[in-house]
């Protein structure tokens, strides 16, 4: 499903994370943990297609999507979903427009979009919220909208970058249970980044830890 072949990730020419070989199979729930600056988000951004690896190649479903210094398949052709740390909900669009944006980009007709929207709002427990603006939603509701937006196009891979970090512990617990339930319902492969070990244990079928290399270079490697 997702394969990293001798990948080095970093900024400009400065390496941050080395992954010699990593294969993530279909429907896995992989959680990546590590300290700040270890390259957790960089890894997700590389899978999404926002960053090219400095070395090596990344494959999605057997196709090379990025190789050293270049993005072979741009983000909008990768068919992945993503929930951002700041959620990145578009403030000029209402809940319905936010959620169905991906469908609109795929050219799906309005009537079909509306049907899928109703189903999705029902799934995430936000029926009746379609025309609400983003700033009228609570933090938890915004998280659900971001999740719905990522899931409505039925991606094979869902990337989540510390999506629950801004919630209190009770909300955090509720939503991570919901994420697991949704993953089992939709059957996507989940790549989830967090620095919270308890969250990682609750969600993961496999945990990958990013640790500094022993040579003191500041570069991190994957364990797990």
């Amino acid at each position: 499903m997702i394969a990293f072949e001798k990948v080095v990730l970093g900024y400009d020419t400065h390496p941050v994370l080395e992954i010699s070989h990593l294969h993530i199979t279909s429907k896995e729930r992989v959680v990546i943990v590590g300290s700040s600056g270890s390259g957790k988000s960089t890894l997700l951004r590389a899978v999404a297609g926002f960053e090219a690896p400095l070395e090596g190649s990344i494959l999605l479903q057997g196709t090379c999507v990025s190789k050293a210094g270049s993005i072979v398949v741009p983000p909008y052709r990768r068919g992945v979903g993503m929930v951002f740390q700041d959620l990145a909900l578009w403030p000029h669009m209402d809940v319905a427009e936010n959620i169905t944006f991906g469908l609109k980009m795929q050219g799906i007709p309005k009537t079909q979009r509306d049907t899928l929207l109703d189903e999705m709002l029902n799934t995430i427990g936000l029926t009746g919220y379609a025309s609400r603006t983003i700033d009228t939603l609570s933090g938890g509701q915004q998280q659900r909208v971001a999740l719905a937006r990522a899931l409505i196009t039925k991606p094979n891979i869902l990337l989540m970058d510390e999506p629950l970090s801004s919630l209190d512990s009770q909300r955090n617990r509720q939503l991570r249970e919901e994420i697991v339930r949704l993953q089992e319902t939709f059957g996507f492969t989940l790549l989830y980044v967090t620095h919270n070990n308890e969250e990682a244990q609750a969600i993961a079928t496999r945990i990958l830890t990013l640790r500094p290399k022993e040579d003191g270079s500041g570069v991190h490697v994957i364990e797990g």
């Binding site: 999404a48 297609g49 926002f50 741009p74 983000p75 909008y76 990768r78 992945v80 979903g81 993503m82 951002f84 740390q85 700041d86 990145a88 909900l89 578009w90 403030p91 000029h92 944006f101 991906g102 980009m105 795929q106 700033d135 937006r149 990522a150 196009t153 990337l159």
Partner: protein
Amino acid sequence: MSYQRLLLGLAVGIVLLMGVFPLLKMLYLALASLLGGTAILPDGTLEAMLRSLLLALGVATIATISGTLIALLLAKTTLPFAPLWLTLFSLPLLLPPEIVILGWIDLLPSHTPLSKLLHTSVGAAWIDTTIFMPVAMLLGFFFLRRIPASLELAALLYTDEKGMLRHIDLTLLKPVLILSFLLIFILVLGEYSVANALHIRLFSVVLFTRFSAFYDFEGTLVMSLPLLLVAFGVIMLERIAIQHTHFGQMHQETHRCHIVLSPLSKRLCILLLAAAVTLVTLLPLWGILGTIDTISQLYRALIEVQHPLLRSLFYALAGGAAVTFAGLIVALALYLNKARYTGLLEHIGLFLFILPSIIIAVALIGFYNRSATEWIYASVLLILFAYTAKYLILSEKLIHIRLQQLPKSLSEAALVHGATPLQTLRYILLPLLRSILIAALLVGALFCLRESTFAMLLLPPGDATLPLYLATRSANGDAGLIAAMAFWMLLAISALLALLLYVGTKLSRRSL
């Protein structure tokens, strides 16, 4: 070619065609002419140049100090109605200089000592100070508002509020002070309308006369060289000043550190500000309004100026639209292309902004006055090019700052959910930029409206805008009627300004 590169190409094309190429050709012709023996400062012009330099130095010093003091009061104390004060103080900058001068001439009865003083370098210095002081005030205000409160609060652990102002705010503000001084200096040096209306022989007037009265194209080009050189020097100094502004650390904060004034100090400050506003803004306005004798004069004036007024508004709005479109292209190009050299576009934009309008106009005439580009030269495009070259930096900065405030994840979320870069631009970035685009359009329109040098040199005869029409009519017309004509101009500017304030308020209330 990716659309990022395409945008960069477009941006570079705009800057080259509207500014760099015409200036380079002008420079080439000027140097050739200089080598051919044309004098750089013909008889009598050295004196005008020295007078101009002295005036610019004086105005820049006074305007920077007074503008910064007002900025400090409004940004760092609990004085109420800061936006209102800022608007009132900024009016002379936004009004066409012809209107400001008319206000002062109307206010001071002729043949009185004050009226005589107005028609000297001192009078020109006073009017230029009121016009350009807002540059220092606005730059200072917005910079001071961006100083993180934590820096000031940390200082308050060791010193009182005066110490905080001195050691933190003013120290951080130093490069902005230098920038304000340099900007005002060069703007005054190139200012033509004030000196011309007051019949003071400054360098800009000599330059303008050489071109428009004697049609001495080569002589004008050569005489422009010192101004070009000074503008280039200012840009270099600005680079050094900006390098030390710590802009990177500055950000918009919801919590700001304000000095709480005692009721007595507050009243005193309000009184001082009110006196200053009266002196720089309200008096010339009163000069105009007080000269209008009857309501019927207003009606007669409207009938007479309807065409120049509509023409002014048309050119201002067309100019504003052109400036905004070009600003959007350049801002997007800079935002999407991270290469370091792209910043050069902004420096060129600033260089064109500080360059005296006459130089831009002459350069454009020299570049486009040929058969292949006749369709530009003989059309409204030429003045739109001039407006774009001159005011591009204003709209580009507004839009670029807004783009930088938008979280990058908003565009990335669109890309990852299937939108192409162009669709991301259409569905995400442009809707989020809508308010700032309207603001940029209004700011552009206001500046185009006050710009009369381009209108004088680049519009066909008989196509005079209202400020020019007023300048001509005021030489031989009924003062009440002329004031009534100016009233309609004031009304048009007030409408644009009110729209701008409305958009600005909407923008500042936005969470993003």
